[in-house]
Symmetry: C2
Subunit: 138 residues, 2 copies
Amino acid sequence: MTRVLTYGTFDLFHHGHVRLLERLAALGDELYVGCSTDAFNALKGKKTALPYRHRVEVLEACRHVTHVFPEECWEQKRDDVQRFDIDVFGMGSDWKGEFDFLGDLCKVVYLPRTRNVSTTEIKDMVYDLQHELRLVKG
Amino acid sequence: MTRVLTYGTFDLFHHGHVRLLERLAALGDELYVGCSTDAFNALKGKKTALPYRHRVEVLEACRHVTHVFPEECWEQKRDDVQRFDIDVFGMGSDWKGEFDFLGDLCKVVYLPRTRNVSTTEIKDMVYDLQHELRLVKG
């Protein structure tokens, strides 16, 4: 049984998330996902459209995901690798090098992200769409 | 084998979608989902944040969904019920009564929607969030 671990916020769940989760899941038999809590995001200066509990609901409904748990701080990763008996730690390549320090506990991989898609870009698209709508409505 | 059928746009996939799909799936063994194409949405005067192919990718990754196909016009429903050998046609209760005309082919049910969540509300939230960000950035 090969277990894969990743982390993320997963706000406004989109095809970029799906593709990354699918490729991570394909590296093993089970995929564990640490989802950033609202408190942890606040600490990072990040504000999401959807609260933690709703982001988790959507993640749990994804067929590539085995188990979702809260990511509450930067420091929990070594503990998580050990308590879930993780074989592969995987993140998008935007994090390249950042988690090499886990290399003594498990394999660490960075997968390429889908081009031209991020939650930020989707938020910008939605903004433009709603802005247009509001202009039309007056 | 009981087959359930539903339709929708599923833009900015959220926990309201997940809950509805989960409850629809629980009515049978397989859930078929007709996803509105961009051309059909244009006809309805509806513009989505995400194009058809990306909305489909997210739907297909949902563990409650068996098969996704394009919804291209209002008139295809009777054909779809027959070609997929559907037993239950289910929609959110915002459509109550609208599809009773399929009652001679299959069971027709309307399920309550999740309170306080819709793609429109999420778009408004994102708008406010981005608006705030742009004000901060100047």
